[in-house]
Symmetry: C2
Subunit: 440 residues, 2 copies
């Protein structure tokens, strides 16, 4: 076969990048678990009718068929790959409601697929890390404060640029548009969401095309300009002179979220009244997150509250969730060379091999080191020691172990070599496992 080439939109990392990604995921997972979120995975596929239920993304779904499909097998028709983790989670909650404890907190770290045109920050296959809380019947608003704090805590422990989360409330926008007298408030949300893409003139044109007046379009833009680090947005909205009970509800909810978050993590959240989120299932608080210095890649953590996504008959399971776009975040930071890992392999010690017939003895030395938690490889061949040392050097393995009477171990960075016993010797903590850091 000829040498294969990459597939656009399906990123793959080199081993050192994957090591960085894993350490990022370890940090996310540990933080989520420290907050009591239980792990969950759902299957990669959902029935197409589930995936297409909530508009917008329908055109981007990957549909599956077996190469030799049997049209009589119901398992062979109408399946597609999930495009996010929220829709599958809502389905999972409905399916397993009788076996879950509510409120139910879970995290989920999985690939998603969308058949979008690939561009920076947009892939066809990408990794998401989600946290959600769902309850049965009603869901307390305090989770809308807790979730951003969890995300901020998780990311704070990593060598990443700082973040800022922008928060809005769909009730606020929808109520404002309704109070304003717009013919289709939900459509107006979708149009306003495109502000950054099509600009004020574009938004005005699209609103006017739906029957809005120039004055109404101007009010929509005025609302979208409001962005405050505290609850002062409430007065700014009041100054626009629009009233509506849903607007009041949204204002109160958003003020509560921004004020409570400011108490625990000052500067993390800003109320930004132009945030809408493209996905149709959000019904209240919505979030987007900027990676400071890398704003152009778009939001690296988004989500919101969804009150009617998981509903069967009379039973509703309202939820709120946030989703970190791990591939978007790391794709950007790998692209700019912003992250580095201390070595390209997990190995801390290479045990040198004097002669091939020494392999069984050398394997026992390696086993003794591993038994005490030290990542160890045996040299692939009994080449000259200089060649074995270069094998370690090329991979960034810090120590080479030499069998002898007695054994000795050499730090190949400093050249320092000391006598050592594999049942006793321990490397410094900083060398035991690879570590990640921001590139200087």
């Amino acid at each position: 076969m000829s040498r294969p080439t990459p597939l656009s939109g399906f990123p793959e990392w080199l081993p050192p990048q994957r090591m960085i990604e894993q350490q990022v995921l370890d940090r996310l997972r540990r933080t989520f678990e420290l907050y009591g979120f239980a792990p969950l995975e759902t299957r990669a596929v959902e029935p197409l009718d589930q995936l297409l239920r909530k508009g917008e993304t329908s055109k981007e779904v990957y549909v599956l068929r077996r190469l030799q499909a049997d049209p009589d097998d119901p398992g062979d028709v109408g399946l597609g790959l999930h495009f996010d983790l929220t829709v599958p989670f809502a389905r999972y909650v409905l399916e397993n409601a009788g076996r879950l404890q509510f409120p139910f907190r879970r995290y989920q770290i999985q690939k998603c697929w969308r058949g979008e045109r690939p561009q920076e920050g947009r892939y066809r296959e990408f990794l998401q890390a989600d946290i959600d809380v769902v309850d049965r019947g009603t869901l307390s608003n305090h989770y809308e404060v807790e979730l951003p704090l969890v995300i901020a805590d998780a990311l704070r422990g990593l060598p990443l640029p700082p973040i800022r989360m922008h928060v809005n409330n769909r009730k606020l926008s929808q109520g404002f548009y309704r109070g304003l007298g717009l013919p289709d408030p939900l459509e107006a949300i979708r149009i306003a969401d495109k502000l950054d893409k099509i600009g004020p003139a574009g938004v005005t044109a699209e609103l006017v095309a739906t029957g809005a007046t120039e004055a109404q379009a101007k009010a929509v833009l005025a609302l979208a300009e409001i962005c405050t680090p505290d609850a002062s947005f409430v007065d700014q909205v009041a100054a626009l002179g629009v009233t509506d009970p849903l607007l009041d509800e949204g204002l109160a909810e958003l003020a509560a979220v921004v004020e409570a978050a400011a108490e625990h993590a000052p500067g993390l959240l800003v109320a930004n009244l132009k945030i809408a989120r493209g996905l149709d299932y959000y019904t209240g608080t919505v979030y987007e997150t900027e990676l400071l210095g890398h704003e152009k890649i778009g939001s690296i953590c988004s989500g919101g509250r969804y009150d009617s996504l998981a509903t069967a008959g009379d039973e509703a399971y309202p939820g709120v969730g946030l989703s970190i776009g791990v591939s978007r975040l790391l794709g950007r930071l790998f692209g700019t060379g912003a992250l580095t890992v201390s070595r390209a392999v997990p190995t801390c010690v290479l045990v040198a091999l004097p002669r091939e017939e020494d392999r069984p003895a050398v394997m026992r030395t390696a086993a003794a080191l591993r038994h005490r938690g030290i990542p160890t490889e045996v040299s692939p061949t009994a080449a000259k020691y200089g060649k074995q040392i270069r094998f370690a050097e090329r991979r960034g393995i810090p120590y080479v172990w030499f069998p002898g009477e007695p054994d000795s171990v050499k730090d190949i960075r400093s050249g320092e070599q000391v006598e050592a016993d594999p049942t006793q010797w321990t490397p410094p903590d900083a060398d035991l496992w690879p570590t990640i850091s921001a590139t200087e």
Copy 2:
């Protein structure tokens, strides 16, 4: 919407099962890294021509298409989901050969998909955990000993039934069949592989149908009956009176693997001359693994050596790998209730909430506990304490923390309650995180 139902062949676990699965994966990953295997992930999709290159599984491939596909976009045609992790890995090695260090050791833990008819131990979506070593040009045989030892070490640390690995060598079978004068030795391997499914009479009939004599079929069955815990199979094969240089090569390689493995892990490997593996890319040593007491689910860890899977022009990257069928293994053990986890959530401490207005203070208490690595949740509501304690009980959370002057913490299993400071108190190690064990 109506309540959704499961999709046959696409297993999903409940949160406690997923916690068990994660602990199993953590153990595998840690062991793989202790042996110096670097982490890797490949995309879920491969070009169809790659997937169909090696026969047999072609009929089981899931093909992708975008719901609104563009026939002019080459990214929209001819993609399928991978059915194993070896074919994508071989492609990855070819694609990135210039940026990898050889011999290259990697592990890869990902979902795979096959459109097979679901049955016990066979899913349409399943999780595999693979280790492989590939080299450029030639690959030393010692990896064929090392890989089974890594797998045995990884599984030994888990509360699982013991395993036995059955090993054979394709050169041995192919050389024997050639020396025997069979018309199509490779076809004979495929037929002999079905011995457990179709029985000796079935194998004989199929061989005869390809032009073999009854005497040749008898010799094939005689070879398949040989199974020894040491190298004594060499004499048993010699007694069958067939000679061929490839047979001799296979005998020598298999004897070396079995003898070296016996030195490091007595009883782990047996030479079993009926093992063939269905996949066509194996060229030497092949492995299958029985979970003792659960033999009927089939092999839970399989693999082998492949000398020509990753080849571009003159450059060959021979490899050897083993793949643990995590879904098959855990699906079985979940089905029999063989594994248990100490609680259904990561949470170790529930901080009780006296009144809703105490939430900010209580969140600070929780943060202090988390800061010292103790998984902590705040009570969802300021219900009566009895109700808050029942919230913890239902999830298996062992400790409830009561704010007060001073604070106190109660072990709700024993009822013991002590004064405690969130910056000082630490639970016993055994309670800090959930632990898994074999069900009594």
